[in-house]
């Protein structure tokens, strides 16, 4: 493939989804400069992997590469952030009971900064499914492909991400960030 063709294909396929790529990288790295480096690296990879692109679903395809690059980058530079949680554990202990009116008001009152902070404080496994679902509006099957997890795990992580977020937005719970006990991937809970 010559340079011009590569450039044109890249611009057609990847650049329309650059905002989505950057948004995901920014939420995963939680830093502007790191997100720019990661997205640049991911796009260079994407150019090399054009052969694996089948011409459909450009956004999930690019986001898969961005997410993979993010994790590789974090593993190298900030391994402490890659703390994973046991997917088999029950729901977070503090899930709000249904119809809890005062709590609903608290959620509605939460302002932008608090909300952003609460999402940023979610463990990365939960943060990524929440961002892909709510900010990219992706269906579960695309999220499963991007995060490289089964559909059932998408469901459980999203459910727990929302429960954690709900708890974090309660005024009395705000100082607490870690609600779940951290479990390293592969370790018994």
């Amino acid at each position: 493939m010559d340079d011009d063709e590569t450039r044109r294909r890249f611009e057609h396929v990847a650049l329309p989804h650059l905002d989505a790529a950057y948004n995901l990288a920014r939420w995963l790295t939680r830093n502007d400069q790191d997100a720019q480096d990661v997205v640049q690296e991911a796009c260079l990879r994407a150019m090399r992997y054009f052969a694996s692109f089948r011409g459909d679903q450009a956004r999930p395809w690019l986001l898969t590469i961005v997410r993979h690059t993010c994790y590789a980058w974090l593993r190298e530079n900030r391994p402490a952030e890659l703390v994973h949680f046991d997917d088999e554990a029950g729901p977070p202990e503090a899930a709000a009971p249904p119809g809890d009116e005062p709590h609903e008001h608290a959620v509605r009152r939460a302002d932008r900064a608090q909300l952003n902070q609460a999402i940023a404080a979610l463990p990365i496994d939960f943060r990524e499914v929440l961002v892909l679902r709510e900010l990219e509006d992706l269906p579960y099957r695309d999220i499963a492909r991007i995060a490289d997890i089964p559909l059932g795990t998408v469901m459980s992580r999203l459910s727990r991400a929302r429960a954690l977020l709900r708890v974090a937005l309660q005024p009395e719970a705000r100082p607490r960030t870690a609600v779940l006990r951290a479990v390293r991937r592969g370790e018994a809970p």
């Binding site: 590569t6 611009e11 650049l15 329309p16 952003n116 709510e134 900010l135 459910s159």
Partner: protein, 247 residues
């Protein structure tokens, strides 16, 4: 119902039978409403981080230069870029601005993307997201999904009939697409605020498709179809209001 299923219901991810059953269950109304409220809050209030222009431009340059170079070379080029410092950065920003305003290949890129969008839509058989020949249905549907309100004034124009609309990306920006049918041909008409970016050349042909552009009503108009160039130009002039002829 488990919390996972409740979330899947709110996200519309249960199978049809499951969705209908959940909708009919009064016990689920309150918890589902809570979840929707949380979801709405995140969607409306959480930051969506758009890619900085400098990154976008850098990638365009990289794309032009990089056909799978070895990693070391890539790193070198990137550090050289960074070493350029503030003045290079400012120059680059200026260049982006000029590029958007002046570059001759920008119009060409817009045409490429419009043709690609038209082809993709026809192939996927999802060329229409809102199917209606009523402009009072199509316009609000589009306005709700864009940061501008495209004029949809002509359910019929120059022999073409409005059949619906969709939103698609053109030059990295979501734009309105009005879908018309002219005899057996589908015509995609892209409409965006003229101030953002001028429409490309008035008439052009690409990969067997014809394109026709115009500016009118404060909007840039670009039609893509396999109908003949004359009819397409006439349609786009009528829609843009730059043709005094009968509609």
């Amino acid at each position: 119902m488990t919390p996972e299923q409740l979330n899947a219901f709110v996200d519309g991810e249960l199978d049809l039978a499951g969705q209908l059953q959940a909708e009919r269950d009064p016990a689920l109304h309150a918890p589902a409403a809570q979840l929707r409220e949380l979801s709405r809050l995140v969607r409306s209030q959480a930051d969506y981080h758009r890619a900085p222009d400098a990154l976008r431009e850098r990638l365009r340059r990289c794309a032009a230069a990089a056909t799978a170079p070895p990693a070391a070379a890539r790193r070198r080029r990137w550090s050289a870029w960074q070493a350029g410092g503030a003045s290079a950065f400012a120059t680059a920003l200026l260049a982006v601005g000029l590029h958007l305003a002046l570059a001759p290949d920008d119009g060409r890129r817009l045409q490429d993307e419009a043709v690609a969008s038209h082809v993709r839509a026809s192939l996927s058989q999802r060329s229409i997201d809102v199917a209606s020949s009523d402009q009072h249905t199509v316009k609000p549907w589009l306005s709700a999904r864009l940061d501008y309100s495209p004029p949809v004034q002509h359910p019929q124009a120059a022999g073409a009939v409005l059949v619906g609309g969709r939103v698609d990306a053109l030059a990295g920006r979501p734009v309105a697409v009005l879908v018309y049918r002219l005899r057996q041909h589908e015509v995609d008409v892209f409409v965006w605020p003229a101030g953002d970016r001028p429409p490309p050349a008035v008439a052009a042909a690409q990969r067997g498709f014809n394109l026709a552009g115009s500016t009118g009503d404060g909007m840039a108009w670009l039609a893509v179809s396999d109908v003949n160039a004359g009819e397409l130009s006439r349609l786009v002039r009528v829609l843009a209001g730059t043709d005094g002829a009968a509609r």
